[in-house]
């Protein structure tokens, strides 16, 4: 109960902060279609995966990102792929989507970094899960396939995003709301 209260308080603080900054984060896809505001979203959660098309670790997780989004799409979770490369073109994104059979979710180009900053993401691949009011419920690795750069496990043993989504859908607090992602840094906004 206390926890829930704390979460609400934190959520309010977050909402206040974003309101103070006057930042309304809208989800706009690569075709210019507006998917609405991050802080008034339908469904039960919004999952955003920050990726780079030439980051090997990010690419190795493509099949799992696809599966997560497919597995949870019927349960009120909306998924987006946020490309953080300032130079990537819409065609480059489409090509990457085809190459890696990304058919799960809508790709966005976060050139302005509004979404990356709202999530506090610094790595690719990194996941962020937002509540329908835009509260950041989870940020971090997708799973622990990598223990460090160049240290790959044969199989992941912790499935952090799945666990967080299960907890959210069960109405519970996320037990590990922040984890350290392993991969490539989000590049500078301007090159």
């Amino acid at each position: 109960m206390k926890r829930v209260a704390l979460r609400i308080a934190l959520g309010l603080a977050f909402a206040a902060l974003t309101a103070m900054a006057g930042e309304v984060v809208r989800l706009t896809d690569i075709d210019g279609v507006d998917h609405g505001r991050l802080d008034s979203a339908p469904g039960r959660a919004t999952a955003v995966f920050f990726i780079l098309s030439d980051c090997p670790i990010s690419n190795q997780l493509a099949p799992e990102i696809n599966r997560i989004c497919t597995d949870y799409s019927g349960r009120g979770v909306r998924c987006y792929l946020a490309y953080v490369d300032p130079e990537v073109s819409a065609d480059g994104i489409r090509r990457h989507q085809r190459d890696f059979s990304y058919d799960c979710c809508t790709p966005l180009h976060d050139a302005s970094r509004a979404l990356t900053e709202a999530a506090g993401a610094t790595i690719t691949p990194e996941a962020a899960i937002f509540s329908p009011t835009g509260e950041l419920l989870y940020r971090g690795r997708i799973n622990d396939l990598y223990a460090g750069l160049g240290k790959k496990r044969r199989e992941p043993t912790e499935h952090d995003v799945r666990r967080a989504l299960d907890e959210i859908l069960a109405g519970k607090a996320v037990s590990r709301p922040r984890t350290q992602a392993i991969g490539c840094y989000v590049p500078p906004k301007e090159l």
């Binding site: 493509a62 043993t157 500078p188 090159l191």
Partner: protein, 443 residues
């Protein structure tokens, strides 16, 4: 101090305080140490050939070089120098870091050095024979690393001698390394057609390499090399060429249909390249028996050279649990030289390290190998969760381990003596295993 010297000193301290720039300081490091792989069409995932390409990944460049994850090079500094050593100095790593901390300035574009030139096509010139995998193998998009062997029939001919094999994979993002073997028995071709799909599973070709038949290997980014001094490896008449490959699923399905260029010696070499492996037979008789959870299991072995040899290169082999391996040579005078020390063994990098100059080891030199295994849950490479007891075996989830030195007898006529000593060592190891078994020691 003379005034002029003082002035020079001042100038150099001022220069040192200035942050590094891309064109003056960073580009030379990247061009020399990274561009062989990080350019269009090569194995690495992105090019590092221009300012914007480097700036985009600046923080990552600093992180991977500081962690010594890049450039890939797994041998710690030893008492010998290796050919094509890929190791940044502390100073170079510091320069990259300081550049990132200073906000990655470009500097004077006029100072950009000319990028190195790379030859197109076959690096060693036109091969004597080019072969290709008969069919493409589909590498799955994900899953654990994969080992698969492919048998390639060769055009008929007499005995041949191989000076080099140049390897060109087609699935650049997924192909990590390859080992080549000659198989005169026909078994490999049979196994290839018996197993559904191109190639056959597993690592059984290692058995053949225990009896010789190895023709070298290739690893990501490795430049092909001719054996020096007229040396060559035998490819007996009627052999198939077996390529054992290690794949690293990349997130998308990739197709591998590699081409290989073979370079032959005009005649049989005068001297015979041979291997000295400690422990012998990839540790089969070393009693490798690692309890679950043991984080530092040590295997030691030694071998005294009965004759003088010239050592050309060194390489280790072990599976996932190995964490460290070392080979030293104690010369008859007592001097100890480290020939190979891999302080963070990574199963993915089964490389061979060639010495810049052949190293003469006199008769009576003792080669000592130490292999350390980490079978704890804290080892991310541990294939078993929770850890399980692991013993010697050929499967990738079993363990094995040895370090082998590639040598020539200083006098070819003494080669038989070396081989006899190696057979004695194996007989002795069998006797020891037997004694420890009947005395109720390890299994």
């Amino acid at each position: 101090m003379r005034p002029l010297a003082l002035l020079a000193l001042c100038a150099s301290t001022v220069a040192a305080a200035e942050p590094p720039s891309f064109t003056k300081d960073v580009a030379p490091i990247l061009f020399e140490n990274c561009m062989s792989c990080h350019r269009e069409g090569e194995a690495a995932p992105f090019p590092l050939t221009s300012y914007s390409e480097a700036k985009k990944r600046g923080a990552l460049i600093s992180a991977v070089t500081e962690a010594r994850y890049m450039p890939p090079w797994h041998a710690a500094p030893a008492d010998v120098r290796y050919r094509d050593e890929r190791r940044l100095s502390e100073e170079q790593i510091g320069t990259l870091k300081a550049w990132v901390e200073a906000g990655m300035p470009e500097g004077d574009p006029g100072r950009l050095p000319a990028p190195p030139e790379f030859a197109e096509g076959w690096q060693l010139g036109e091969p004597d024979l080019v072969v290709r995998m008969p069919e493409a193998f589909e590498v799955p998009a994900e899953g654990p690393d994969l080992y698969r062997s492919f048998a390639i029939p060769l055009p008929a001919g007499g005995d041949r001698w191989v000076r080099a094999i140049e390897f060109r994979p087609s699935a650049r993002g997924a192909s990590h390394h390859a080992l080549f073997f000659a198989d005169p028995s026909g078994e490999a071709l049979e196994a290839d057609s018996a197993d559904g799909g191109p190639g056959f599973a597993g690592m059984r070709e290692l058995r053949r390499s225990e009896r010789g038949g190895g023709l070298g290997g290739w690893a990501v980014g490795g430049a092909p090399q001719m054996l020096p001094d007229g040396l060559a490896r035998p490819l007996p008449a009627g052999s198939a060429l077996v390529v054992q490959m290690h794949f690293h699923p990349s997130g998308k399905i990739e197709r591998e249909q590699a081409s290989l260029g073979l370079y032959f010696a005009p005649e049989a070499p005068q001297r015979t390249l041979t291997g000295v492996q400690t422990p012998p037979l990839f540790g089969r008789l070393a009693g490798i028996d690692i309890p679950a959870g043991e984080s530092r299991y040590v295997v030691k072995d030694s071998f005294e050279l009965p004759i003088a040899v010239d050592a050309y290169g060194v390489g280790g082999h072990a599976h996932y649990l190995c964490s460290e391996m070392k080979m030293t040579a104690t010369l008859p005078g007592g001097e100890v030289k480290t020939l190979l020390w891999i302080d963070r063994w990574d199963f993915a990098w089964q490389e061979r390290y060639y010495f810049r100059e052949p190293l003469r080891l006199p008769a009576g030199t003792v080669l000592e190998t130490e292999l350390i295994y980490d079978n704890s849950a804290a080892n991310p490479a541990n294939p078993h969760r929770p850890p399980r007891h692991v013993a010697w075996g050929r499967g990738s989830e079993d363990e094995m381990g040895s370090v082998s030195l590639e040598v020539l007898a200083a006098k070819e006529s003494e080669l038989a003596e070396l081989r006899a000593a190696q057979r004695r060592q194996i007989r002795q190891a069998i006797a020891n295993r037997f004694l420890s078994a009947i005395s109720g020691g390890s299994r």
